[in-house]
């Protein structure tokens, strides 16, 4: 039986590769941008997997008398997955949204100037 973490990391790595393939092979700007979004999604999945341990739950403390009982307190880290990677990915998702919006805005402007989304026909960029 294949381990869930292996499956998730493989999916993340595959998403990154597919995204890069789309960026390099496609000529349509929207499709290239979708490639970027797939790379971002793959990276997020990979980072989450670095702190994921099967059988543990999200780090939201749900034991009411945690502060008074030292025995409960010391058992706490064994129940939860790593909060650091989750915080990093939350940051990364927000920034990915902003960057995607900026990319889309440039796509709209480029379409307005060149009247095409095909990068092969942006002759002013060729050397």
């Amino acid at each position: 039986m294949i381990e869930p973490t292996t499956l998730y990391t493989l999916t993340g790595a595959l998403l990154i590769l597919i995204g890069f393939a789309a960026i390099m092979l496609k000529r349509n700007l929207i499709k290239m941008m979708l490639g970027f979004v797939m790379v971002e999604a793959g990276v997020h999945l990979l980072i989450i997997c670095f702190g994921f341990i099967p059988g543990r739950t999200a780090p939201i403390i749900n034991t009411p008398d945690l502060l008074t009982d030292p025995a409960l307190m010391s058992a706490v880290p064994q129940q939860f997955v790593d909060p650091v990677v989750q915080a990093i990915v939350l940051t990364a998702i927000v920034i990915a949204v902003g960057v995607t919006a900026l990319m889309l805005a440039y796509v709209v402007r480029l379409y307005g100037v060149h009247k095409t989304l095909d990068v092969g026909r942006y002759v002013s960029l060729k050397w």
Binding site: P54, P59, I61, D82, P83, A87, V94, G98, A101, R109
Partner: protein, 234 residues
């Protein structure tokens, strides 16, 4: 050329990933993560440890993150607002059903967004997620009625005041507890799992929620109305 280079680059990238990524689960969480989980409730009284990390332990990084979001949204709006007519398609007016449904749902969705960012320290969620939900209610309104005018001044004020107050709250931490965005001794920590607990964390997350919500709403408005300033067909 591209057809030859692409497989080579992808193969190299795949090899790098194969080497760099551990494909099995780690034996235990990282040392710093263990410390956050162990002392998070004692330090901040916040049930959600991820919120504790984002708003308190790494609050300065979150300020940077908010700035990055602000800059990229500003850049996108700046790029979209140039006054060259570009209308991709003539919009068809939405039906009565969509318009009424959007007006009906706007309030509850806005309230749900506010609920998400006010409960960021207790449940999964927080300022960024709540802000996105708030912006989605604005998107719904604009989808139903493209010509609806947004209160740009009010949105700008909400956005800049919440960003400003975030920094002010951080400065208060320097003045009272000696470190930026400190959570010690400014507001009472309260009881675990209470709405009014965790000291400054809900205050900061409400500010972040307002900021992200108004920013994304402005961005959605700019995208819907890009190039329409002259009102002429391109």
């Amino acid at each position: 050329m591209r057809q030859i280079l692409t497989p080579i680059v992808l193969l190299l990238l795949g090899a790098v990933l194969w080497q760099a990524v551990p494909f099995t689960a780690p034996a235990d969480i990282s040392e710093i993560g263990r410390r956050f989980v162990e002392f998070g409730v004692a330090d901040n009284r916040a049930a959600n440890i991820v919120t504790s990390v984002i708003v308190n332990y790494r609050g300065l990084d979150t300020l940077g993150e908010v700035s990055v979001l602000f800059l990229s949204v500003t850049g996108a709006i700046f790029v979209l607002r140039r006054r060259e007519g570009l209308i991709l398609a003539t919009p068809t007016p939405s039906s009565e059903l969509v318009a009424t449904g959007a007006r009906l749902l706007f309030g509850p969705i806005l309230l749900f967004g506010a609920y998400i960012f006010a409960h960021g320290h207790l449940t999964p969620g927080g300022g960024f997620q709540g802000g996105a939900i708030v912006a989605s209610s604005v998107l719904l309104l604009l989808l139903a009625d493209r010509d609806r005018a947004m209160a740009h001044n009010a949105l700008g004020w909400i956005e800049s005041m919440s960003g400003f107050l975030y920094v002010v709250v951080g400065m208060v931490g320097i003045a009272i507890a000696g470190s930026f965005l400190s959570n010690k001794g400014i507001l009472p920590l309260g009881l675990w799992n209470d709405l009014f607990s965790a000291g400054l964390i809900p205050v900061i997350y409400v500010l972040v929620g307002l900021k992200v919500g108004s920013e994304l709403a402005t961005l959605i408005d700019a995208m819907m109305h890009s190039g329409e300033k002259e009102g002429t067909q391109a």
